[in-house]
């Protein structure tokens, strides 16, 4: 019990005093997962909308693939991304392994299918005739896609939330392709594991608490935006 109570007290003092190490790890986490989420949003919203709106042979198969991709175990993603980018891999020449870019890449592989899948579902949930109605109002194709996205904006926000939530809390891939390098690829999750291993429970708890606060804040902001838009 003492360990937990002391741990939490010290954790909060680390957070409140803006301990440089804690700040550094938090900022890196935000930067990497933020970039991955942004890129995944572009890819996922685009791909999800395209698959939802276009008719093409093998669509059902593609949807199954996307749905499978939504549940990709991060460790497996980490493994495959590692195989691709290590020095002897096909992309070895880029020297990506153990860089933030590699982490962004792996997190995109994790988040993009999630955002694609949720987008796809959101688009398919819109009334089928809405599309006809928009075209009947004289919309160009671009305007059609834009209006449909606008109509699905709340579920699309959910998609982004799900994507961000998936990557900020992910450890397997980050550890493998990032390597937990101090000040470079050490993020909240990998640092938490390492500090737990080292027995620095205060720091581990502080990092865990920040991870929770972060997840909560992002969700809270997005929910607030949702609520306001509904009015």
């Amino acid at each position: 019990m003492d360990l937990i109570v002391n741990g939490i007290i010290q954790a909060f003092s680390l957070i409140v005093s803006l301990d440089p190490e804690v700040v550094e790890v938090t900022l890196l986490s935000l930067k990497i997962s933020g970039a991955a989420t942004l890129a995944s949003t572009v890819i996922g919203v685009g791909a999800g909308t395209a698959v939802a709106l276009l008719r093409f042979p093998g669509k059902r198969f593609v949807i199954s693939v996307i749905n499978t991709g939504m549940g990709l175990p991060p460790v497996v993603v980490g493994l495959f991304v590692t195989l691709f980018i290590w020095r002897s891999g096909p992309l070895g020449g880029l020297g990506l392994l153990y860089t933030p870019a590699a982490m962004v890449l792996a997190q995109i592989v994790i988040a993009a299918p999630i955002i694609t899948g949720v987008t796809l579902a959101a688009m398919q949930k819109l009334p089928a005739r809405l599309r006809l109605q928009i075209l009947a109002l004289g919309a160009t194709r671009r305007q059609l896609v834009w209006l449909l996205m606008k109509e699905a904006r709340l579920p699309l926000l959910t998609a982004v939330m799900a994507g961000f939530g998936g990557v900020i809390s992910e450890i397997g891939a980050s550890m493998m392709v990032g390597g937990n390098i101090k000040g470079y690829t050490r993020v909240l999750t990998t640092a938490t594991v390492m500090e737990t291993g080292k027995g620095n429970f205060e720091l581990a708890i502080a990092l865990g608490v920040i991870l929770l606060i972060l997840a909560f804040t992002v969700n809270y902001i997005l929910t607030a935006v949702q609520q306001r838009k509904q009015k």
């Binding site: 572009v42 002897s88 020297g95 870019a101 101090k182 470079y184 390492m194």
Partner: protein, 274 residues
């Protein structure tokens, strides 16, 4: 539509910005080492010094000695700091590594519960202690991860003439030293631990040093450069610079002072400068 284009551009530039460091790869050194050097905080102390002086960026991958050498054996690391004598010698003999140099040492200790059910306290021989643990069927927690510590432990079991692998009282964690210590304390078992990690955790764990000082428990760290002739993508220059750094007199002094300043005792004894 302009709004969207603007957003897209922002996203792409953000991603691109993060990708840039990837192209500065000649300045990066991949350094594979053991968890003990990282967990004690030694690396956090030394690496910034090197980076500042040399301009290189060191990417530390802290794993067990076995995995560190496996990375070197595939050319995925540039330089290694490891403690697993026989494997190191084989690594160099097979042509994967060059220029193996001694850096420092500390020693292993046998830790266990303070009430010491196997009655090994104060024994001079680690092998004897292991035999007593086996005879009393007391719980022994092994790293089981091919790390230098694990290899040393296996060597000691061999010396004791035992093979505990399949015994019920012998458990493997597959974790780093720090986490293994947590298991040891939780389960009130015995384990082999490097002194550095022990000292760094001493105040937080409920376990005692029961056996120490046996010459067989010496834990020696070597720095090895990965052979660039075998792997053309290896950063040979950076690897050499970092290896040289480890054995430089100033660094050796830093190693000596590190433990004293932080834990009040020498954690690693420098060996490169005699």
């Amino acid at each position: 539509m302009n709004k969207i284009t603007g957003i897209l551009l922002t996203i792409y530039s953000a991603v691109f910005f993060l990708l840039i460091p990837a192209y500065a790869k000649e300045k990066d050194i991949i350094f594979a080492t053991t968890t003990s050097t990282q967990d004690t905080g030694l690396l956090d102390e030394l690496i910034p010094v090197f980076e500042k002086k040399s301009g290189y960026r060191v990417k530390t991958i802290a794993v067990g000695s076995g995995q560190a050498m496996a990375m070197g054996g595939k050319g995925e690391a540039d330089v290694l700091l490891v403690h697993s004598k026989d494997a190191e010698e084989k690594f160099v003999k097979d042509g994967f590594g060059i220029n193996r140099r001694i850096v420092m040492h500390n020693d292993f200790v046998i830790l266990g519960p303070k009430d010491d059910p196997a009655r090994i306290r104060g024994l001079a021989s680690a092998a004897d202690a292991f035999r007593k643990i086996a005879a009393s069927k007391s719980l022994f927690v092994s790293r089981g991860d091919k790390s230098g510590t694990h290899v040393m432990e296996q060597k000691l079991w061999k010396k004791a003439g035992l093979n505990p692998e399949k015994e019920k009282w012998y458990q493997q964690t597959g974790l780093g030293m720090g986490q293994t210590l947590a298991v040891v304390v939780e389960k009130r078992g015995y384990t082999l631990c490097d002194r550095a990690t022990y000292l760094s955790r001493k105040n937080k764990i409920d376990a005692a040093v029961l056996v120490e000082g046996d010459a067989a428990l010496l834990n020696i760290y070597h720095v090895i450069e990965v052979n660039p002739k075998k792997f053309p993508r290896v950063n040979a220059e950076g690897g050499k610079a970092f290896a040289d750094f480890w054995v430089a007199p100033e660094t050796q002094k830093l190693i000596k002072d590190f433990g004293i300043r932080k834990y009040g005792a020498i954690l690693f004894h420098p060996d490169a400068v005699k």
